[in-house]
Amino acid sequence: MSLVFIPEDMDWVCEPCGERLQPGKVELTYLGNAFHVEMPVCPKCGAVYIYEELALGRIHEVEQLLEDK
């Protein structure tokens, strides 16, 4: 999968850290497969934001593919 997933609207602040989200390295795993991608994270605590379009689009597609593999 292509590696960078950043939504148009990045105007989100992590609470309680108070930090604006920034692109960061994230590892996603499903059914024993791992993917290294870039997505919005809190630079302080590392919390990750999986936005709606990504969850229902690419992530859902990959989940289905892996389930049928």
């Binding site: 105007d11 602040v13 609470e15 996603l28 990750v48 934001y49 969850a55 049928d68």
Partner: protein, 756 residues
């Protein structure tokens, strides 16, 4: 599924059996494909069908006596299709397809004695296989009795052209004064065919013993014959015997067995079933002129073809029709899916989409059960850890939740210390119609005061999902609970529970609540207008319950509108077999197709059927709406939905416990999180299978110090939690009346180190 099981499944489906016409053709011409091409006006395509199976098609099609017509299924519905007439028109109106392909030359020679139709067939069939053939004939030109035919029947130029084509296949024609024994002596060959449909000399005839009827072999090795007189169809029988002899000669020249794996002539025998019920007779088209059909007449006549197919199951099942095949081809699909070691298992969704309703098995002349095949496949997938985790996840979670401490309950009646009967409404009735469930229970208490109550799920989802271990564990736990209640008779309002109990917990002696009510009398009123009664698919083999429901309705004076696929032939609403989980779009189509079968409002006695069918917008009543009018819900009421079902089960348990002066004990801490959900958002949650309870749990966790994201511009908030196998995300605003939910979404993929 292994190879042996595949063969067994395949053998049950007869769709690939030949139609009667083809089975009746000694040359195995695909008459159905030929006639259908003619009906489309594709005469070249039709000729190609003939040339595929006929020797010297320009001759054979002109003289064929069309024995297929004897077997045509149309024969009692206006007369058999005039295949013979269509063949002649087709062959007149089209040209040969071009060069006949020939296999590489082979060394061993064949002598064909005579040049009648059987001889020319032997020459044609063997020459194509590369054997060098010499045809010995009387007279100036080969053809035997074909030379004596009228020009209107077989123009000599056509015969000449076909013989020329034979020549191009390395067939040599030799004119001889007599077709006698000396001829064979003088021209030794590796195999000899004597065509008795030509003027064979008496001395040679005297040498011929009756041939083996299957192989046309004579006693003398390497000698074969055919074209004997006395058959009903002089021409086509001779051609057929020539063909059988050619098969034998080819095998003989390769030192192969003449009989092993040989496909016998079918003489019209086929297992293909063709439903003719409801097909109107259409009279045969009679050619207006002397010369046979015109093109227009031929197309019309061919248009009478029934296109014999079985497809009994496919015609009635949206699921089977949706996937473009029929059970035999589906068996191969399931087998291939199971055989894949690396790569995509493309039939997973197909296997998981069957509603297991059993209609196909009832319709099938050979009892092919897609339900059994798909259930076996699902079990195998589960056992091999290949079942897609998301396929049945929601239904299994629903089952587990209906069995958890917040929703499940088993108790004797208030004030009673034992139960003679116990009411098991079924988890869906409890979730969809909690007030009516209570009302029904009250009625049962009037009939039998020692009737306990049992809120639970029968575990059908685990069964349908192919999860044998979980299913067995649940059954065992239920049996213990039931024993603990003193083994009362189980009375259920759900056809699925009833079916599960009868099959897997027969000791329950389960009965349908509708049967009980029909025996005890009811006071209620009819709706007046006729309703289309849709039997739940799990009542297919339960005539007792179906009859009880009809008897109840008759007593109410409720008229019923006709619904053709009812009773044993009833159809699924789209929920059965967890179709709605694995393939929600297909489940919608199934429900749409079902409600389209009657103009009348629908009536059912399964809560989930009510839910699924009502989702189409069709007015649908549950039988409880008629039996207890004071609790009736409008037929137009939308379905309860997944979120309300959870809340309703908890409330029902609360109400039942309150009758005992008890309560449910500690509530879930998130239960009272207040949500503001618009209709649009509710529809989004429903479609995405996100429960309001899930949303509550996410928000509760966030309120207890969980991380959230807040939009710097407009203050929207996003929270997320991993609940079991799924991470749920909720976007909301905090308001005075509670959380205003804007969106929610979910995924199964995990983030290493956690989400928010």
């Amino acid at each position: 599924m292994d190879q042996k099981e595949l063969r067994e499944w395949e053998a049950k489906c007869i769709q690939e059996e030949p139609p009667a016409c083809r089975a009746g053709c000694p040359l195995n011409v695909d008459a159905r494909a030929f006639v259908l091409s003619m009906a489309r006006g594709d005469f070249d395509g039709a000729r190609a069908v003939l040339e595929k199976s006929m020797p010297l098609a320009a001759v054979t099609a002109r003289l064929c006596e069309a024995p297929c017509e004897v077997y045509c299924i149309r024969k009692d519905l206006g007369g058999a299709i005039a295949v013979g007439g269509l063949e002649r028109l087709c062959i007149r109106e089209t040209s040969p397809k071009g060069k006949i392909p020939r296999l590489p030359a082979r060394p061993r020679k064949v002598a064909v004695i005579g040049s009648g139709p059987s001889c020319l067939t032997v020459a044609f069939d063997l020459a194509r296989k590369g054997h060098p053939i010499t045809v010995y004939h009387l007279g100036e030109k080969p053809g035997g009795w074909l030379r004596g035919l009228d020009e209107s029947v077989l123009p000599q130029a056509v015969l000449d052209a076909e013989l020329q084509r034979l020549g191009s296949l390395h067939v040599t024609f030799v004119a001889v004064p007599a077709l006698d024994a000396a001829l064979i002596e003088a021209h030794p060959a590796d195999a000899v065919y004597v065509g008795q449909d030509d003027a064979i000399a008496p001395d040679l005839l005297a040498l011929l013993t009756p041939p083996d009827p299957e192989t046309m072999a004579l006693e003398r090795p390497g000698w074969f014959t055919g074209g004997m007189a006395g058959r009903e169809f002089r021409f086509i029988s001779a051609v057929s015997q020539g063909r059988e002899a050619a098969v034998s000669i080819d095998r003989f020249l390769q030192n192969a067995s003449l009989t092993s794996s040989r496909v016998p002539l079918r003489d019209g025998r086929t297992d293909l079933f063709t439903q003719t019920f409801g097909i109107e007779p259409v009279e045969r088209v009679v050619p207006a002129g002397q010369g046979g059909f015109t093109r227009e007449e031929a197309v019309r006549e061919a248009g009478r073809c029934l296109d014999c197919q079985c497809l009994e199951c496919v015609k009635h099942c949206v699921y089977l029709a949706e996937h473009g095949g029929y059970p035999k081809s589906y068996a191969r699909r399931v087998f291939n899916n199971s055989a894949i070691v690396q790569g995509m298992r493309q039939a997973n969704t197909f296997i998981n989409s069957c509603s297991m309703c059993g209609q196909c098995e009832t319709l099938c002349p050979h009892d092919f059960s897609m339900a059994d095949m798909c259930l076996d496949a699902r079990r195998e997938m589960v056992d091999l850890n290949r079942m897609p985790p998301s396929a049945h996840w929601f239904a299994l979670e629903e089952m587990r939740s209906a069995k958890d401490a917040q929703a499940a309950l088993i108790r004797h009646a208030p004030g009673a210390s034992a139960s003679d009967a116990i009411f098991f409404p079924g988890c869906q009735l409890a979730g969809i119609r909690p007030e009516q469930t209570l009302r029904l229970y009250d009625r049962l208490l009037e009939i039998e005061p020692r009737t306990g109550i049992w809120l639970d799920c029968c575990a059908a989802p685990a069964h349908w999902a192919g999860r044998r271990e979980e299913f067995a564990a649940v059954l065992s736990a239920m049996e213990k609970m039931w024993s603990g209640m003193g083994r009362p008779m189980v009375v259920t309002a759900c056809s699925t529970c009833l079916k599960m109990f009868r099959e897997y917990l027969p000791a329950f002696g389960a009965v349908s609540v509708w049967t009980l009510l029909s025996e005890s009398g009811v006071q209620a009123a009819s709706m007046g207008q006729p309703l289309a009664l849709s039997d739940p698919c799990t009542s297919r083999h339960d005539a007792q319950t179906r009859d009880a429901v009809r008897s109840l309705l008759a007593r109410l004076g409720q008229p019923l509108a006709e619904l053709p696929m009812s009773g044993e032939l009833t159809e699924c609403c789209g929920f059965g077999g967890l179709m709605d989980n694995a393939n929600p779009a297909l489940a919608r189509k199934v429900a749409q197709a079902r409600v389209a079968q009657s103009e009348a409002d629908f009536l059912t006695y399964c809560a989930m059927c009510r839910e699924q069918l009502a989702r189409t917008g069709k007015p649908v009543l549950h039988i409880l709406d008629l039996l207890f009018p004071e609790t009736a819900r409008p037929a137009q009421e939308p379905p309860a939905g997944i979120s309300a079902r959870r809340v309703n089960r908890r409330r029902l348990k609360d109400e039942l416990l309150a009758r005992h002066g008890l309560d449910r004990g500690p509530k879930e801490p998130w239960e009272d999180v207040r949500l503001v959900v618009s209709d649009e958002v509710a529809a989004m949650l429903e479609e995405r299978r996100i429960l309001e309870d899930d949303v509550r749990r996410v928000l509760f966790a966030a309120s207890k110090g969980g991380r959230v994201l807040r939009h710097a511009g407009d203050g929207r908030v996003i929270a997320a939690s991993r609940l079991g196998e799924v991470t749920f995300w909720v976007e909301y605003r905090e308001g005075e009346d509670g959380y205003e939910i804007l969106k929610a979404w979910s995924h199964r993929m995990r983030i290493t180190g956690g989400d928010l």
